[in-house]
C-alpha cells in the first residue's frame, strides 16, 4: 500500500463525507471511487469530497475524480467539494471538473448545499 494513501469516510445525515488526505494518485483515487460506488449502490445520492488534507494530486487521481463525478451524475446524485487548494482548484478548472461540481470553503457549506439550503 502506498505510504501516501489516507482516506477517511463518515456520514453526515444522508451525505457521505470522504476526506482525501495525502497524495491523490491512482491508488487513492481507486479507494475514493470504491467508497463512492458502494454508497451509490446502497442508494445514497449525496457525496462530499473534502480535499482539505490533500497535499498532492496527479492527473491519474483527477481522472478517478472525473469518473466519480460521472457516476454520481448518472445516478442523479448530488456532489460537491470543499477545502480545495488554489493549485487543485486550477487543476479542476483545466480538466473541466469545476464546471460540473461546485466547490465550497467549508464542509458545512457543502452540507447545506447538498441539503438544498444554499
Amino acid at each position: 500500500m502506498s505510504p501516501h494513501k489516507t482516506i477517511r469516510i463518515r456520514e453526515e445525515g444522508d451525505t457521505l463525507v470522504v476526506c482525501v488526505g495525502g497524495y491523490l494518485n491512482s491508488l487513492l483515487g481507486e479507494e475514493v471511487e470504491k467508497a463512492v460506488r458502494t454508497r451509490l449502490d446502497g442508494g445514497g445520492r449525496r457525496i462530499l469530497l473534502d480535499f482539505q488534507d490533500t497535499r498532492l494530486v496527479n492527473s491519474i487521481g483527477i481522472s478517478f475524480v472525473i469518473g466519480i463525478v460521472e457516476k454520481v451524475m448518472e445516478r442523479e446524485g448530488r456532489m460537491a467539494f470543499c477545502g480545495v487548494s488554489r493549485i487543485n482548484s486550477d487543476l479542476f478548472r483545466v480538466t473541466g471538473l469545476a464546471k460540473y461540481v461546485r466547490s465550497f470553503e467549508t464542509e458545512k457549506e457543502v452540507l447545506d448545499f447538498l441539503a438544498g439550503n444554499a
Binding site: 502506498s2 505510504p3 501516501h4 497524495y23 494518485n25 491508488l27 498532492l56 494530486v57 496527479n58 492527473s59 491519474i60 483527477i62 481522472s63 478517478f64 472525473i66 469518473g67 460521472e70 480545495v84 487548494s85 488554489r86 493549485i87 482548484s89 486550477d90 487543476l91 478548472r93 483545466v94 480538466t95 447545506d112 438544498g116 439550503n117 444554499a118
Partner: protein
C-alpha cells in the same frame, strides 16, 4: 376659517411601527447627536437622500421617537421633533401652510403632554400653548388667516413657518424633520428654493437642527447652493440595510407571518433584494398569502422571480412608472433607457450621454431624466449623473424589456431570472479580492493624474520590456527619469467602476471607465475617455486583447467618440503572450505590467495595494544568488510514487529563490506529471528517469529525461476511455514554457517557470528536435 382635517402627516406617522425598524444604527446615532446639540445652539443640519422606499421616512420617524423619549435633564431644553411631509398631495401653498400649522399645533401640544384634541380648534390650541409658555401663537394665526383671505400663498407660508417653535422658559427647542422635501420645489406659484429662504433663519441659528429628507438630492443641493446654505448641511445617503440588519428583519417578518425560510438562505436573500426593507416585506407577505414553502434556494429564487414578473414587486414598480410617466410612449422610452443602464450596466455618467443613449429629443430626454431624478432613481451632481443601484429594479426592468419589447412570456422571463441568479458563480479563490484591489488602486491613481506628464514607457509593455527587461529596479527607476518621450495624462473628472458578472454571456463592459479632459477647460472638445481592464488571467492571451478591443469599439460607437478620444489600457496580472502584446500594440492599446504600474503609483505617491512587494522577485531585481545559476540533479527509479521525491526536491530547490507557495505548487505538479509520463510511456530499459533543476535569478528550468523509446503525443483510446491523458495539458497550464524532444533514444521534457513574471520573458513554446506536442495532448 376652514382648516383641513388631516391629522398625522399623510398617515406616515400613524403607520410607522417602531418594532419594524431595523439597522441604520450609525445614521441614527449621528442624527441624534446632531439633534441634541441643538440644545447648546450648535445643532447641525442634514440632507438625507436615497432612492424611493429605501427607508428615509422610517429613519426620520424612528429619530422622532428617539428624540421624543430623550431629555428630561434638569435645566437642559428637550428636543421637540416636528415631523412634516411635503408630499405632493398639497401642492398649493395655502393648503400646505394650513396643514403645516395644524401639524405644529397638534404635535406640539402632544409633545407637551396633552391628549389628542377631540375637535380641531386652532384658537383654543394657541391659548393652551400660551399656558405652556409658547407666546405669540395667536398673532401668527391671525396673520396667516389674513394672508389666506387675500389668497397670498407665499406670505401664508412665511407666516406658518415663523411660528414660535420654542417656549419662553427654554424648556424645549424644535428639531425639524422635513420629509419629501423635493416637493417644495413644485409648489404652485412659489419659486424653487423659496422654502429654503424662509427656513434660512432657523437653519443659520444652530438652535433649530434641520433634517431634510428626499429622494432628489440634486435639486435640493442646487437650491442649497443658490441660497449659500450648502456648506451648512451634511449629506447622508441612505442605501440598503447591512446584511446583518437585513437578516434580523427577515427573522422578525418571518416570525410575524409564521413564514419559514431556512436561516442559511437569509443572507443570500438579503443580497438579492439589495438589503431594501420594502422588498423584504413584500416578499414575506407574498409568501404568506400564497401559502408557499421556502425549503431551499431554488424555491426562493422562483418566488422572487414570480414576484418581480407578476407579483407584488412587479405591481409596485409598474405603478411607480405609470405614475411617474403617465404618457405611455415616454414611459416605454424611460424603461428602455433605464434597462440599459441598470440591467445591462451601460457605463454612463453624463447628462449628454444619457440623452444620446435614449435616442430622444433633448427636450424629452431632459424631461425623462428630470422625472427620474425627482423620484430618486438618478443622482445628479454638476454634469455627472449616477443611477440607483437597486438589483430588484434591474430585474423588473429586465422583465419589462423582455416582456414589453421582445414579447416574451412572463414565465419565460421568470425562468431566465432564476437561471441567471443561480448560475452566477463566485470568483476563483483569491481572485475576486485581488482583482478588486487592483482595480481600486488604479481608480485612485487615475483620480490623481491631473494633467501630469509621465514617461510613455509606463503604458507600453513591449517597449518597457525591450529596454528594461532583466535590469535591476534601481536601474529601471533611473532610466525612467531620463525618459524623454512623455505623455500628458488627462484631468480625470470621474471614474466609474464596472463589473465582471454577466447574464451567462461574455462580459461587455470595463473594470473602469474614466472621463477626463485634456486640459483645465472642461469642454466637449477636450473630453477623453479611458477604458481600463485589469487582466484576471495570469498570462494575457490574444483573445482577451481582441475582446477588449471589440468592447472599446462598441463604446466608441455608442459614445460617438473619434479614435483619439478613447484611450484603451490593459493592466497585466503577471505577464502576456507575445501575440497579445503585438495585437495590443496594433490596436493602440496601452499595456502595463505590474512593475510598470508600481512605478506609476510611486510617481503619484501611492502605495501598491495588491501584493506585498518582494524585492527578490521583482523583475530584474537582484536574485538570491547574484546572477549565478544553481544546478541540481536527481535520478529516480521508475517506481510507484517516486515522483513525490522529485516534487519534494523541487520544493527544496525553490526555497533558495524565496519562490511563493503558489509557484512552488505549480512546479511540483508539473514535475509529477512529467515523471508519470516518463514512467508510463518510456518503457526505459534502465528503469531510471533523470531530472535536472536549474535555478537562475529569473526562472527555474526543469528537465525530465528518460532513455526510453520515445512517445507520440496525444491521448490513446485507452486513456480517453479512462478519462486519462491530462498530463501534458496540465503541465502547459501550470508552467510558462514547455518543450518536448522525443525520439528513439528517449524523451526530454524541458519546462520553464519564470519567476516574478519577468516582462523580458513571456512564455514561448519552441519546437524540439522530435516535434513538439500541442496543448491538450499527452
Amino acid at each position: 376659517m376652514g382648516y383641513l382635517r388631516l391629522f398625522g402627516t399623510m398617515g406616515a406617522e400613524a403607520s410607522f411601527r417602531e418594532e419594524d425598524f431595523f439597522g441604520r444604527e450609525e445614521e441614527l446615532s449621528a442624527l441624534t447627536r446632531a439633534a441634541l446639540e441643538g440644545s447648546r445652539g450648535i445643532g447641525s443640519s442634514f440632507m438625507i437622500y436615497g432612492p424611493p422606499n429605501i427607508g428615509k421616512t422610517s429613519l426620520l420617524l424612528k429619530l422622532a421617537r428617539t428624540l421624543g423619549a430623550s431629555g428630561g435633564e434638569e435645566g437642559v431644553p428637550r428636543p421637540f421633533p416636528l415631523y412634516f411631509s411635503f408630499s405632493q398631495i398639497l401642492s398649493h401653498p395655502l393648503a400646505l401652510s394650513q396643514h403645516f400649522l395644524q401639524e405644529v399645533l397638534s404635535q406640539l401640544l402632544r409633545f407637551l403632554g396633552d391628549p389628542r384634541p377631540s375637535a380641531f380648534d386652532p384658537a383654543a390650541m394657541c391659548d393652551r400653548l400660551t399656558s405652556f409658555g409658547v407666546m405669540g401663537c395667536r398673532e401668527v394665526l391671525a396673520a396667516h388667516e389674513r394672508c389666506t383671505a387675500e389668497g397670498d400663498g407665499l406670505s401664508a407660508l412665511v407666516n406658518a413657518l415663523s411660528f414660535p417653535f420654542s417656549s419662553s422658559g427654554g424648556l424645549f427647542y424644535p428639531v425639524f424633520l422635513f420629509d419629501d422635501f423635493q416637493y417644495t420645489g413644485k409648489l404652485q406659484g412659489v419659486p424653487e428654493g423659496a422654502m429654503l429662504s424662509i427656513l434660512r433663519p432657523h437653519i443659520k441659528s444652530g438652535h433649530f437642527p434641520m433634517f431634510l429628507s428626499g429622494s432628489s438630492p440634486g435639486r435640493v443641493t442646487a437650491a442649497l447652493k443658490r441660497e449659500g446654505l450648502y456648506g451648512t448641511f451634511q449629506m447622508i445617503e441612505i442605501g440598503g440595510l447591512s446584511t446583518d440588519s437585513a437578516v434580523r428583519l427577515w427573522g422578525y417578518l418571518c416570525e410575524r407571518r409564521r413564514v419559514d425560510i431556512p436561516a442559511s438562505l437569509l443572507s443570500r436573500a438579503s443580497e438579492r433584494l439589495g438589503g431594501i426593507p420594502t422588498y423584504q416585506r413584500m416578499l414575506v407577505e407574498e409568501i404568506f398569502f400564497g401559502g408557499a414553502n421556502v425549503p431551499d434556494a431554488v424555491t426562493f429564487e422562483n418566488l422572487y422571480a414570480v414576484s418581480v414578473t407578476e407579483g407584488k414587486i412587479n405591481r409596485y414598480w409598474r405603478e411607480f412608472f405609470e405614475n411617474t410617466f403617465p404618457d405611455r410612449a415616454r414611459r416605454g422610452r424611460a424603461i428602455r433607457f433605464l434597462k440599459r443602464v441598470l440591467c445591462d450596466l451601460f457605463p454612463l455618467d453624463t447628462m449628454e450621454g444619457a440623452i444620446s443613449l435614449m435616442g430622444a429629443s433633448e427636450e424629452e430626454g431632459e424631461a425623462i431624466l428630470s422625472a427620474l431624478e425627482f423620484k430618486g432613481l438618478l443622482k445628479a451632481d454638476l454634469d455627472q449623473i449616477s443611477f440607483v443601484g437597486d438589483p430588484v429594479l434591474a430585474d423588473f426592468l429586465y422583465w419589462a424589456f423582455e416582456h414589453g419589447v421582445l414579447g416574451k412570456g412572463t414565465s419565460q422571463v421568470a425562468a431566465s431570472i432564476v437561471q441567471a441568479k443561480l448560475s452566477r458563480t463566485a470568483p476563483l479563490p483569491g481572485q475576486g479580492g485581488d482583482h478588486a484591489r487592483r482595480v481600486s488602486i488604479v481608480k485612485e491613481l487615475m483620480r490623481k493624474w491631473d494633467l501630469r506628464e509621465v514617461p510613455l514607457l509606463l503604458l507600453d509593455f513591449g517597449k518597457f520590456r525591450e529596454k528594461f527587461g532583466g535590469k535591476g529596479l534601481l536601474e529601471v527607476v533611473i532610466g525612467m527619469e531620463r525618459e524623454a518621450v512623455r505623455v500628458r495624462l488627462p484631468k480625470v473628472s470621474s471614474v466609474s467602476t464596472g463589473y465582471r458578472a454577466s447574464r451567462g454571456g461574455p462580459r461587455f463592459d470595463f473594470d473602469l471607465v474614466a472621463y477626463g479632459f485634456l486640459d483645465g477647460d472642461f469642454s466637449e472638445e477636450n473630453l477623453v475617455l479611458w477604458a481600463v481592464d485589469a487582466a484576471v488571467e495570469k498570462n494575457l492571451g490574444a483573445r482577451a486583447v481582441e475582446h477588449f478591443e471589440n468592447r472599446c469599439r462598441l463604446l466608441a460607437l455608442e459614445k460617438g467618440l473619434p479614435d483619439d478620444r478613447l484611450r484603451k489600457w490593459m493592466i497585466l496580472n503577471e505577464t502576456a503572450d507575445p501575440a497579445a502584446v503585438d495585437l495590443a500594440s496594433g490596436y493602440g492599446i496601452h499595456l502595463s505590467h505590474p512593475t510598470q504600474l508600481r512605478l506609476f503609483l510611486n510617481l503619484f505617491g501611492l502605495e501598491e495595494l495588491e501584493r506585498e512587494p518582494d524585492p527578490a522577485r521583482s523583475p530584474g531585481a537582484e536574485a538570491p544568488r547574484a546572477g549565478k545559476t544553481l544546478e541540481y540533479e536527481l535520478v529516480l527509479p521508475i517506481k510507484a510514487d517516486s515522483e513525490v521525491v522529485a516534487a519534494r526536491v523541487a520544493e527544496e530547490v525553490a526555497a533558495f529563490a524565496s519562490v511563493d507557495a503558489d509557484t512552488v505548487d505549480r512546479v511540483k505538479m508539473a514535475i509529477i506529471e512529467a515523471c508519470i509520463n516518463a514512467f508510463e510511456h518510456s518503457a526505459s530499459e534502465s528503469g531510471k528517469v533523470r531530472l535536472r533543476y536549474l535555478l537562475a535569478p529569473d526562472k527555474i528550468d526543469i528537465f525530465v529525461q528518460d532513455d526510453g523509446k520515445g512517445f507520440r503525443p496525444g491521448k490513446t483510446p485507452e486513456e480517453s476511455k479512462k478519462n486519462r491523458g491530462w498530463g501534458l495539458k496540465l503541465i502547459r497550464e501550470l508552467l510558462d514554457d514547455v518543450e518536448i524532444t522525443t525520439g528513439p533514444d528517449g524523451t526530454v521534457v524541458h519546462m520553464v517557470k519564470h519567476l516574478g513574471a519577468d516582462p523580458a520573458n513571456p512564455g514561448a513554446v519552441q519546437q524540439g528536435e522530435g516535434g513538439s506536442a500541442s496543448p491538450g495532448e499527452s
